[in-house]
Symmetry: C2
Subunit: 297 residues, 2 copies
């Protein structure tokens, strides 16, 4: 039945709400705590050949976040994801982005969670955004914005719905003609971009900020840290003072949707030569191979 609805449609998005493929335009109560308080979590995932890359790691991160929020995860999550992917494959889509959102559901006014929680689960499947190939071939630019990422937040390191700050940061960076925003933590160390992790190449070593600098533990970030030793590239997680960004010879950003994007200019200054560097190219190529391998089993 779900497959009939989906295959009869020509365009994404497909939207599942609480396990059911939705046909309408309205899906949520205005009293949903995801909307009123950002009281929830999400994962953005990418599928290749109709298979989600490292779904298990996304679910691990979701579970860790749910523990911090004391949010009970519904038991049929995996079922919904599998049904969605079957439907997507049956409809002939191969490369898609998937967003899984879980909120604490409808609540009374105020912050206190309801005595009995009935979470809202939303799964949306979209076409991949049209990433311009120049982004990968020539790299992108970024601006270090004034506001700081809070590594001391109770919500640090979990992928909660609270992305207001990142939206403001990205808007600020775009306003001055750059592609992305870089945020420092409250101590002045480099943290991450609006929605990506950041890697630098410093003295031929791959360096990325640790979780203690307010970064989200990215699935792509983790995979890159696994890949580095197989390529005989030394790598290290350590706090990075802002000025080291400009002594780095290469930089790149990682995220589940965009994967690995070279970062070649920050605050109007080139990173290294200003071109995509050799270690970045090596990581990009190996990552593509890794994804193909893991998504064709």
């Amino acid at each position: 039945m779900a497959q009939d609805i989906a295959t009869s449609r020509s365009t994404l998005p497909f939207i599942w709400v609480n396990g059911k493929l939705s046909e309408g335009a309205l899906h949520l109560s205005a009293l949903d705590r995801g909307f009123t308080l950002a009281d929830g979590l999400f994962e953005t995932m990418r599928a290749e050949h109709g298979i989600i890359f490292r779904l298990d790691r996304h679910l691990d991160r979701l579970t860790a976040g749910a523990r911090v929020l004391s949010l009970p995860l519904p038991s049929n999550l995996l079922e919904t994801i599998h049904e969605a992917m079957r439907t997507v494959r049956a409809a002939g889509f191969s490369e898609v982005s998937i967003r899984l959102t879980i909120s604490r559901g409808v609540g009374a006014p105020g912050l206190a969670p309801p005595a009995e929680t009935i979470p809202t689960v939303v799964l949306t499947v979209h076409h991949l955004p049209e990433f311009p190939s120049v982004m990968y071939h020539a790299g992108i630019s970024a601006r270090i914005v004034a506001g700081r990422r809070n590594e001391k937040s109770l919500a640090s390191g979990i992928k909660s719905l609270a992305y207001t700050e990142s939206v403001i940061a990205l808007t600020e960076a775009r306003r001055v003609g750059t592609d992305d925003a870089i945020l420092l933590d409250t101590e002045g160390h480099i943290s991450e971009s609006s929605a990506s992790n950041l890697f630098l190449v410093i003295q031929n070593t791959l360096v990325t900020p640790p979780k203690s600098c307010g970064v989200l533990p990215g699935i792509t970030r983790e995979a890159v840290l696994e890949l580095a030793p197989t390529l005989h590239i030394p790598s290290k997680e350590r706090p990075i003072p802002e000025h080291e960004l400009f002594t780095a010879t290469e930089a790149f950003l990682t995220s589940s949707l965009r994967r690995i994007v070279p970062l070649v200019r920050v605050n109007d200054r080139p990173i290294g030569s200003g071109d995509v560097g050799p270690i970045t190219r090596q990581i990009m190529a190996s990552y593509t191979t890794l994804v193909h391998r893991e998504c064709t089993c």
Copy 2:
């Protein structure tokens, strides 16, 4: 028409979505950026005799937040609020809480705001929560939680939808048997409670943290700062180190819904004598008078 629907109902909440009184249970798209990214703002207001206390100040704060978010506010906001209040009065409700939420509306995946924004406006009217009278007569307790409020955030000082951190803080405080959570800023100064501003009485002076300590500029907070000189109570906004909480002789919390609530215990230690102090009582009484005066014009 709207009044007919409302008066035919016996119970709140009433929910207006984009200016229309809603009859269904679903009001929002799952793609609404208020739900997916906390990309929006809200105000919680309280009405007495069917009149919202200091609506103008709430709208000023909303407008300031909209500027930070580059979020265009719909022109008919005030119309919706007035229609809602007329409907509420016609239905015979006098004391209610009103929540106005404005999000950036439906968007494509990703953080970048859509080229053309059609905001979502939700106005809900609820019964006032049943505040136990002991809260006002005997005061409440709080716990200083480990996570810090980020006074260096791009979203600091605006009432965005990103309340995840406050929900976690309140949950943590309740878990150890206290009523509310107090958050310090990233430098270790006292900031605010999960959803209230904090005042201390130190050497007979009313002291409250300034906006630079990550506090939301509360409407009740502002009114208390206006009231103090009329009562010949000296007042001051200044950064307050954590330890001063325990040398204060009185403390209270302020918010639009709860108004003024004495705070008598923090981390299992009494504030002052552990009873509701004389300056707190004086402010509470004057505030009640102020509300009655302003809400009966």
